[in-house]
C-alpha cells in the first residue's frame, strides 16, 4: 500500500461527522462514532469543528513512545499498526501524538488509529467541503 496523506483544513469543517459514519461503517460494518478512527471535536467557544486523523508522521512519536512495542509503522504506507495483544492501554502513545489522532476507547477496549482503509480512505469522499482531502492524488483534492 502506498502512502496516502490526508490533509486537514479545520476552518471549513462543518462538524457533520460523515467521516466518522463512513469510517465506522467500513471498519465495523455498523455506524458507531465511538469506534471511528477519525474524530471531530467541537469547540463551541471558538465556533470550530476540528477533525483529528493520523498524519503518518515521521518520526512517529506514538510508535517511539510505546514501551511495549505494540505499535509499528509500515514503511511504505506510513500507517501505524496496533498489536492488540501487546497493548496494555498505558496511554503513552495518546499523550505523545501531536494531532490527537490516536485514541483508546474505554467502551470498546480498543486502541484506534487510522489505517487509511487499506489504501482507499472511506471518509475523504464524504467530505464535500474538503476539510479532509487527499492532496497528492488525482481523485482526492478539495472538491
Amino acid at each position: 500500500m502506498e502512502r496516502r496523506d490526508i490533509q486537514v483544513n479545520v476552518p471549513v469543517c462543518t462538524g457533520c461527522r460523515l467521516c466518522e459514519i463512513a469510517c465506522s461503517l467500513f471498519h465495523r460494518g455498523a455506524v458507531n462514532p465511538e469506534g471511528a478512527r477519525v474524530r471531530v471535536i467541537e469547540d463551541w467557544a471558538r465556533s470550530l469543528y476540528e477533525p483529528h486523523i493520523c498524519q503518518l508522521c515521521q518520526p512517529t512519536l506514538c510508535v517511539q513512545a510505546c514501551p511495549l512495542e505494540a505499535l509499528t509503522q509500515d514503511s511504505a504506507s506510513g500507517v501505524v499498526r496496533v498489536d492488540p495483544d501487546l497493548c496494555n492501554n498505558c496511554g503513552a502513545c495518546v499523550a505523545a501524538c501531536p494531532h490527537g489522532a490516536i485514541r483508546w476507547s474505554d467502551a470498546l477496549g480498543e486502541l484506534l488509529v487510522c489505517d487509511r482503509c487499506g489504501g482507499k480512505p472511506s471518509c475523504v469522499p464524504f467530505c464535500h467541503r474538503g476539510a479532509l482531502s487527499l492532496p497528492n492524488t488525482s481523485e482526492g483534492g478539495v472538491r
Binding site: 476552518p11 457533520c16 460523515l18 465506522s24 458507531n32 463551541w44 467502551a107
Partner: protein
C-alpha cells in the same frame, strides 16, 4: 438496528422505569420518530393538562437516524402542547438523536414530576436521574458546557431547557448544541413542568445495518449527487437566509404583524449577503452534506450559530428592523434563554400592534413599543424569558389573551390556538396558507408546506410529481389541495425516517424522496417496503394525528380555518397588494383535501379509512 428499545422514565418519587423493545410492527407501520411517537400518544396517553405530570414527553429517533442518508441527525419531540393546548410536536436536528441511538434507544417517554431539579443521564444501557440544582438558571449553552465539564466528556450530547423553560414560558424550547432547537409548541415548558433541566446521552453501541458496504457506496453516490445540485450549493453557502430575497421581492414577506406590505428596497439590507461579514463558515447536523447553518461572530462578541430565515422573517421584517446585526443578537438571546424564535418574535410584534392601536397603554407596556425599535424588541426578549413586566403576559403566548383587553384577540394570528403570526406567504402563496389551516399541530409550515410552489415550475413537472394537475402560479388555488396532501404524506415519512426537510421535495422537485428512502431502508434493514407502503405509512401517521386533534376537540371543519386578518384584510402593499384568502375557496380546498385523505366532509377520518389503515 433490527431490535430497538423504548425507555419509560417516571420522574415522580418512588416510581421505577422500564424498557421495552419497539414492537417490529410499529416500526413497519409507523416507521419511527414522529410516527411512533404519535402512535404512542394515541394508543396510550389520553389528553391531559400539558403542564401536568401525566403529560408524556416523548423523544423519538427516526428509522434511519444516524445512518448515511439525507440529513439523518433528526428526531421528534412530542407531547400535548402547553403553547396551544393541542397537539405538540417539534423536530430537532444536531447530534442528540444519533447519540441516543448509539446508546441503544430509539424512544424515551418521560412522565411524572420531580420534586427538585434533575437531569437524566443515559450512558449506553444505564439511565440515571441526577440532581440538577446547580444547573437550574443556567443558559442552554452553559448547561451543556457544565455537563461536559463535570462528566469529563467532550462528546456528551445534551438536550436542555434554559431559564424560560424553568419559568414555564409557554413558548419555551429545548436546545442542543449552540442553536439546534425543538423549538415549537412549548416542549421546553413541558420539561420545566417536570423539573427536568436536561437529558444527556452518550452511546458506544454499534448501529448495525444489513448491508454495510452497499450502504456506504449508495450513501456516497446519493450524497455526491445531492452536493452537485445548485440548490444544495446555494443552501450550503447562504443557508436558509437565501429565501429572504425572493420572499421580499415576490411580495410575500410582509411587515408589522401582516398589516403592512413588504420592505421593498429597504429589505435589501438583510439579504443573505448581509451575513457574510459575520459568518465564519457553515455548520451542519450529524450526517448532513448540505451544511445550511452559519457560524457567526459579531466583532468582539461571543460566537454562535444561525440565524435562520425565520428570525429574519418573524423578527426583522415583522418588527420592521431590517438589520442583520439585530437578527443575530435576537437569535442568540432567544436560544440562550431557550425559547422558540417564531413565537417569541410574534408575541413582540403582537405587543407592538396593541400599543400602536392603543389597546395597551404605555404604562402596561413599560414604555413605548414602536415598530422599528430593535433595542426594545431585545429588551422584551429578556422580559419574556424572565417573566418581568409585560413579559409575564407575553410569556403566556396564546393564553396571554385571557390577560389582555378583549379587542386584542384578532391581532394574535393563530390556528387551533397555535401561534402562526405573520407567516411569510400567509395570504399570497395559497398552498402555504391553506396548509396552515389543516396542519395537525396548528398553523406551522413544516407539516405540509409545498416549498416548490413558489418556483413557477412547468405544469407538467407538477402534474407528474403530484399525479394530478396543480397550478404553477403560487397565487392560484387550483390543485393546491392535492399539493398540500401530497407533501403531508411525504413529510410524515421523512420525519419518521429521521431525515431533513431540506433534503426532500421542499426546495426542489428533483430532491430525494420515496424511491431513495425505499432503497436505504432495504440496505439498512433488509425490508422491502414499496413506495405504496411508505405512502400508506405517511397517511396512517397523518390520520392518527387528525384523530388526536379530534380527541382534543379541534379535529373538525370549523377548526380548519385561518386568522381573521388573512380572510378579511387584503395585503396592504407591494407586488401582491390585494391578495386575501377567499372563504369559498378555503371551503372548496377543504372538500378536496378531506376526500384525498379519506376523511368525511366534516374533516373527521371515516371509519373505513381508519380501519383500512389499521389505526387502533
Amino acid at each position: 438496528m433490527l431490535t430497538r428499545k423504548i425507555a419509560y422514565v417516571d420522574l415522580s418519587p418512588d416510581v421505577s422505569g422500564r424498557t421495552e423493545t419497539v414492537p417490529p410492527e410499529w416500526r413497519r407501520r409507523y416507521v419511527g420518530a414522529r410516527g411512533v411517537n404519535m402512535h404512542l400518544l394515541y394508543s396510550r396517553y389520553p389528553p391531559v393538562d400539558p403542564l401536568s405530570p401525566d403529560n408524556p414527553l416523548i423523544f423519538g429517533c427516526g428509522l434511519l437516524t444516524g445512518l448515511p442518508g439525507f440529513g439523518s441527525g433528526r428526531m421528534n419531540v412530542t407531547a400535548y402542547s402547553p403553547a396551544s393546548g393541542n397537539l405538540g410536536d417539534s423536530n430537532v436536528g444536531g447530534h442528540f438523536g444519533p447519540e441516543l441511538r448509539f446508546a441503544g434507544y430509539d424512544h424515551l417517554v418521560i412522565t411524572g414530576q420531580s420534586p427538585r431539579p434533575v437531569y437524566l443521564l443515559i450512558q449506553d444501557d444505564r439511565i440515571e436521574i441526577r440532581d440538577a440544582s446547580r444547573l437550574w438558571g443556567q443558559t442552554t449553552l452553559e448547561t451543556q458546557q457544565m455537563l461536559r465539564h463535570e462528566l469529563n466528556d467532550d462528546r456528551l450530547r445534551v438536550l436542555t431547557i434554559g431559564p424560560a423553560g424553568e419559568r414555564l414560558v409557554r413558548m419555551a424550547s429545548i436546545i442542543t448544541g449552540p442553536k439546534d432547537a425543538a423549538g415549537r409548541f412549548g416542549m421546553g415548558a413541558v420539561m420545566g413542568s417536570k423539573n427536568l433541566k436536561a437529558v444527556a446521552v452518550r452511546g458506544s453501541q454499534d448501529l448495525t445495518v444489513a448491508h454495510p458496504r452497499e450502504l456506504l457506496d449508495y450513501g456516497r453516490e446519493q450524497l455526491d449527487a445531492l452536493w452537485r445540485r445548485k440548490w444544495v450549493q446555494a443552501l450550503g453557502r447562504q443557508g436558509t437566509p437565501l429565501l429572504i430575497a425572493p420572499a421580499n421581492e415576490g411580495g410575500w414577506l410582509l411587515t408589522r404583524n401582516d398589516q403592512a406590505g413588504p420592505l421593498g428596497e429597504r429589505g435589501r439590507s438583510m439579504y443573505a449577503e448581509s451575513l457574510e461579514p459575520y459568518s465564519l463558515g457553515m455548520a451542519s447536523c450529524f450526517g448532513c452534506t448540505v451544511h445550511c447553518r452559519h457560524r457567526h461572530e459579531i466583532k468582539g462578541g461571543p460566537r454562535g450559530e444561525g440565524p435562520e430565515y425565520s428570525v429574519f422573517g418573524w423578527g426583522a421584517a415583522n418588527l420592521d428592523v431590517p438589520d442583520t446585526e439585530f437578527v443575530i443578537r435576537a437569535n442568540d438571546l432567544v436560544n440562550a434563554y431557550g425559547m422558540d424564535v417564531m413565537d417569541t418574535l410574534v408575541m413582540i410584534g403582537f405587543a407592538f400592534e396593541l400599543y400602536q392601536r392603543g389597546i395597551i397603554s404605555r404604562s402596561t407596556a413599560g414604555g413605548p413599543l414602536e415598530w422599528g425599535d430593535g433595542e426594545t424588541a431585545l429588551a422584551l426578549i429578556h422580559q419574556i424569558a424572565r417573566r418581568e413586566g409585560i413579559g409575564d403576559i407575553l410569556a403566556e403566548g396564546s393564553y396571554a389573551l385571557a390577560k389582555l383587553p378583549r379587542e386584542a384577540g384578532p391581532y394574535l394570528l393563530r390556528v387551533k390556538n397555535a401561534i402562526v403570526g405573520p407567516a411569510p406567504g400567509g395570504r399570497v402563496v395559497k398552498s402555504f396558507a391553506l396548509g396552515h389551516s389543516v396542519a395537525t399541530i396548528g398553523g406551522h409550515l413544516h407539516r405540509n408546506r409545498p416549498g416548490i410552489d413558489v418556483l413557477g415550475l412547468p405544469p407538467q413537472v407538477l402534474a407528474d410529481l403530484y399525479e394530478g394537475p396543480a397550478s404553477s402560479d403560487y397565487r392560484s388555488y387550483e390543485g393546491k389541495a392535492r399539493m398540500v396532501w401530497w407533501h403531508e404524506l411525504l413529510y410524515a415519512v421523512c420525519d419518521s425516517l429521521g431525515f431533513c426537510r431540506f433534503q426532500t421535495v421542499f426546495n426542489s422537485p428533483h430532491a430525494p424522496q420515496y424511491p431513495q428512502y425505499q432503497r436505504l431502508i432495504q440496505l439498512a434493514l433488509d425490508w422491502d417496503m414499496s413506495v405504496e407502503e411508505l405512502r400508506e405509512a405517511g397517511e396512517r401517521i397523518y390520520t392518527t394525528e387528525r384523530l388526536l386533534l379530534g380527541r382534543l376537540g379541534v379535529g373538525t371543519r370549523e377548526h380548519d380555518t385561518l386568522p381573521q386578518r388573512w380572510l378579511e384584510e387584503p395585503v396592504a402593499g407591494g407586488p401582491c397588494q390585494g391578495e386575501v384568502i377567499d372563504q369559498a375557496q378555503l371551503d372548496r380546498f377543504l372538500d378536496q383535501y378531506y376526500a384525498l385523505h379519506g376523511w368525511d366532509n366534516n374533516g373527521q377520518p371515516r371509519p373505513d379509512t381508519v380501519k383500512a389503515l389499521g389505526i387502533a
